[in-house]
Every structure is written in structure tokens, then in C-alpha cells.
């Protein structure tokens, strides 16, 4: 699984805003040039980024393996001709390139996830989106990271307990209902306690914004983003 891993690669030290810009520009370039040549060039760039961030390309791709049925089925279905019934492999070519393009973007996105702490992403959000929406998103996202492992553990425990009491024999709707009721109730109970704690610590609309500053290292990052955009538009 891909997740933030503290480290000292050059990509870890970059400003998160520049890294976000590269991801967006990379995707735009990949959509503009979904050709063998275009994707070959972008493959080299994606591998270079993964290398600099020291993120495993294999793991990045495996982390989205649940998408595999879609990425494989899309070109296969395109090759089917209904009248007369036949297989037209050439029709699968473009959708196959599209599937490959998805993987490239995921590799670049994995480099961001691997090298960027929540605190930095939150800083990027609050420094990019002004005022109340920025605070709401920044604090809200931080809370999601905090409570995700707590709720995951809780759901796992509930399922194990229910299986132990032969809950697996119950009808499907009933099992879903029971699990979700517990999940929602626990979430709301926690939310009530959390909101008291937020208020007690003076949760404010105008906090000190998290620190973030560009360095000279970020110049090539933005240059890459601009180059990718230019390639998408002019080439």
C-alpha cells in the first residue's frame, strides 16, 4: 500500500503546491498525447519521478489493483462487434492506451502520497484556498486522517464479533444494516465528544496559517509543470 513515508529524498523536501501542479499538468499532458510516442515520453518522466521520490513503481500499480477489471475490460469490450459478431482488435488499441495512461498518472500520484506529510498538504490547502472554506477543508481533512484508523479498527472488531456469533448466517440486508448502524452511531458519538474538544481549544476561522515556503529547489518543479502544460497545448 502507498502511504506517506518519512524520508530524506529530494521530493520530500519540495513544496507540496509544486508537486500538486506537476500531477495536474502530467495528467493533462497524458490526455492530450495518448499516443505511443506521447506515452513513451511520459513513461520516462513518471519513472524518473518515482525514482527521485524512491517510491516503488510496482507497489504504486498494485495499490490500484481493484481497478484492474475496468482497465482490462474497457479495451476488450471495445473490440467486440455485435453485427456481424466479430472481434476487431484494432478498436481495442485506443482504449488500451487510455488504460496505460491511467497507470502512469497513478505512479506520479503515488510519488506525491509517498513523500508528502498530511501537515504539508493541509498547509497547501489552507494557503491556496482563502478564508473559511480553506480552514474547513484543512481542519476537516486533518480530522479524516486522525479518525480513519480509529473507525477502521472499530468496524473490524464489530465484524469479527458478529462472525463469532454466527452473524454471517443472517440475511445480507440485515448484516449490512447492523454493521452500518454501529459505525454511524459510534461516529456520531465520537463527533459529539470531538466538537466539545474543538470548541475548548478555541477552534477559530482565522488561525495562524501553517508554515510553507518555496525554495530554489521548487523552481525546476514548476518549470516541469509549465513544460508539461505547454506540451499539452502546443505540441
Amino acid at each position: 500500500m502507498i502511504g506517506y513515508t518519512p524520508g530524506s529524498t529530494i521530493v520530500h523536501r519540495l513544496d507540496p503546491r509544486g508537486k500538486l501542479a506537476v500531477q495536474l499538468a502530467f495528467a493533462i499532458a497524458a490526455f492530450a498525447h495518448t499516443t505511443p510516442r506521447g506515452l513513451a515520453a511520459l513513461t520516462i518522466l513518471a519513472l524518473a519521478i518515482a525514482r527521485l521520490a524512491s517510491v516503488s513503481v510496482v507497489r504504486a500499480i498494485l495499490s490500484v489493483r481493484v481497478l484492474a477489471p475496468f482497465l482490462i475490460a474497457a479495451p476488450l469490450v471495445a473490440a467486440i462487434r455485435l453485427s456481424p459478431p466479430a472481434i476487431d482488435p484494432s478498436a481495442a488499441f485506443q482504449p488500451a492506451l487510455a488504460s496505460y495512461r491511467v497507470l502512469l498518472v497513478f505512479v506520479v500520484a503515488a510519488a506525491y502520497v509517498h513523500t508528502t506529510a498530511v501537515r504539508e498538504s493541509r498547509a497547501a490547502i489552507q494557503r491556496t484556498i482563502p478564508s473559511r472554506p480553506g480552514v474547513l477543508l484543512g481542519v476537516g481533512v486533518s480530522l479524516v486522517f486522525r479518525f480513519l484508523p480509529v473507525l477502521r479498527r472499530e468496524l473490524t472488531t464489530v465484524r469479527a464479533a458478529s462472525a463469532a456469533r454466527l452473524g454471517t448466517e443472517r440475511p445480507l440486508v440485515d448484516r449490512i444494516r447492523r454493521l452500518v448502524v454501529v459505525g454511524v452511531n459510534r461516529s456520531f458519538t465520537r463527533a459529539d465528544r470531538l466538537s466539545a474538544a474543538l470548541s475548548a481549544r478555541c477552534f477559530a476561522w482565522n488561525p495562524t496559517l501553517p508554515q510553507l515556503s518555496f525554495t530554489r529547489l521548487d523552481i525546476p518543479v514548476f518549470a516541469t509543470a509549465i513544460g508539461l502544460l505547454a506540451a499539452a497545448v502546443f505540441v
Binding site: V118, G140, N185
Partner: protein, 199 residues
């Protein structure tokens, strides 16, 4: 104390409570990504709870905060929280994945479900909503999710996208739609039972 207390613009108590609930709901959506049930209709297509989470966000948090909860879920996933299907993360899911239409539809569908159930942008007592209203709201939500999901799939996988909507629908949506009835039934059961503590 050096703090100038007058300059601190406190978030009001009601808004704090709504933010906490939206964030916890977004985290719950993420936790749902790890849960799947075997599908009695199609063995290869496991049942996940994400769509049920979208329905309940609209019903329980209302159109505004339900949609905000979904936005928090998407943004958290984009910057690295492992909340997407199978515990995946990254902005690729929102800008390049063939399933991006489904993800972008969540805030819209939650808002739509909330608007129907609460008959407006305000928050009403959802437990008093009639079963036909609840079912109608969720059918509308399902339609939005799969319509945007299909268009998104076609846009990512096929060129030109509008010529391949049928293929996109067959691959991305058709296998999943039948079990939505199960989720709608479960959601009605959840809302109508007294098992959920007062909102």
C-alpha cells in the same frame, strides 16, 4: 497573556458540531472502503458500502453538510488517506481513474438525496420522512452516481466518449446496479429503526 482575545474569530458551536460530524462521516466512508460483502447475484462483484455512505450522508447530515462530508472524503483521499476502494489513495483517482465520475458524483448525489429527504437546504427530522420519499431520494442518488460514473468512464477510456456510452455503461455500471436495491433496503431499515441515536 499576550493573546488578544478579541481578534480570535471563534467558529460557532453549531458549526463546530457540523464540521465534526462531517469529518467523522468522511472517515467512516473511508473505513467502509475496507468492508465488502459477497454478492449473492454476481460472485465476482463484491458489495461495498461506499454508495450506502453517500445516501446516509445526505439523509443524516442534510444536503449541505452531507455534500461537505463527501468533499472532505475526496480531498483526504487525494492527498494520501487510504480511503478509496481497496484502501488506495492519490489524486490520480480524481483526475485520471476510469472511476473518477463515481467519486465526483458523491457530493452531488449526497446533496440531491439530502434535498429530497429534507425538502430544501435546511435540516429536518429525517426519521419522519416517508418510505417512498426515502426510496425515491436514493433512486435519484443512484441515478446520479451511475450516470456520472458512466460518463466519466467513457471520457477516460474511449475517444470520442459520447460514441461509447453503451460500452462504458456495460463495463462500469451494469454489474453493480442490481445490488443497489439491497443498499437502499438497508438504508431504509437503518433510518426507520430507532437504532440511530438522535441526530
Amino acid at each position: 497573556m499576550a493573546t488578544n482575545t478579541e481578534s480570535v474569530d471563534l467558529v460557532g458551536d453549531e458549526t463546530v458540531a457540523n464540521i465534526a460530524r462531517a469529518a467523522l462521516f468522511a472517515a467512516l466512508m473511508g473505513a467502509f472502503a475496507y468492508v465488502s460483502f459477497p454478492n449473492p447475484l454476481a460472485a465476482g462483484v463484491p458489495i461495498t458500502l461506499q454508495v450506502l455512505g453517500v445516501f446516509l450522508a445526505g439523509i443524516m447530515l442534510g444536503p449541505v453538510w452531507g455534500a461537505i462530508a463527501m468533499v472532505l472524503y475526496l480531498v483526504a483521499g487525494a492527498i494520501g488517506a487510504p480511503v478509496f476502494s481497496g484502501g488506495a489513495a492519490g489524486i490520480g483517482h480524481l483526475i485520471a481513474s476510469p472511476t473518477l465520475g463515481f467519486l465526483w458524483s458523491y457530493p452531488i448525489a449526497a446533496a440531491a438525496v439530502g434535498l429530497v429527504v429534507h425538502r430544501g437546504v435546511g435540516l429536518t427530522e429525517y426519521k419522519s420522512a416517508s418510505t417512498p420519499t426515502l426510496v425515491g431520494a436514493m433512486v435519484l442518488g443512484t441515478a446520479i452516481i451511475y450516470a456520472l460514473g458512466t460518463v466519466g468512464f467513457a471520457a477516460i477510456q474511449y475517444d470520442p466518449w459520447y460514441a461509447s456510452l453503451g460500452q462504458a455503461f456495460v463495463v462500469s455500471s451494469l454489474p453493480f446496479i442490481p445490488v443497489e436495491a439491497v443498499k437502499i433496503a438497508a438504508a431504509v431499515g437503518i433510518v426507520k429503526s430507532d437504532a440511530i441515536a438522535a441526530a
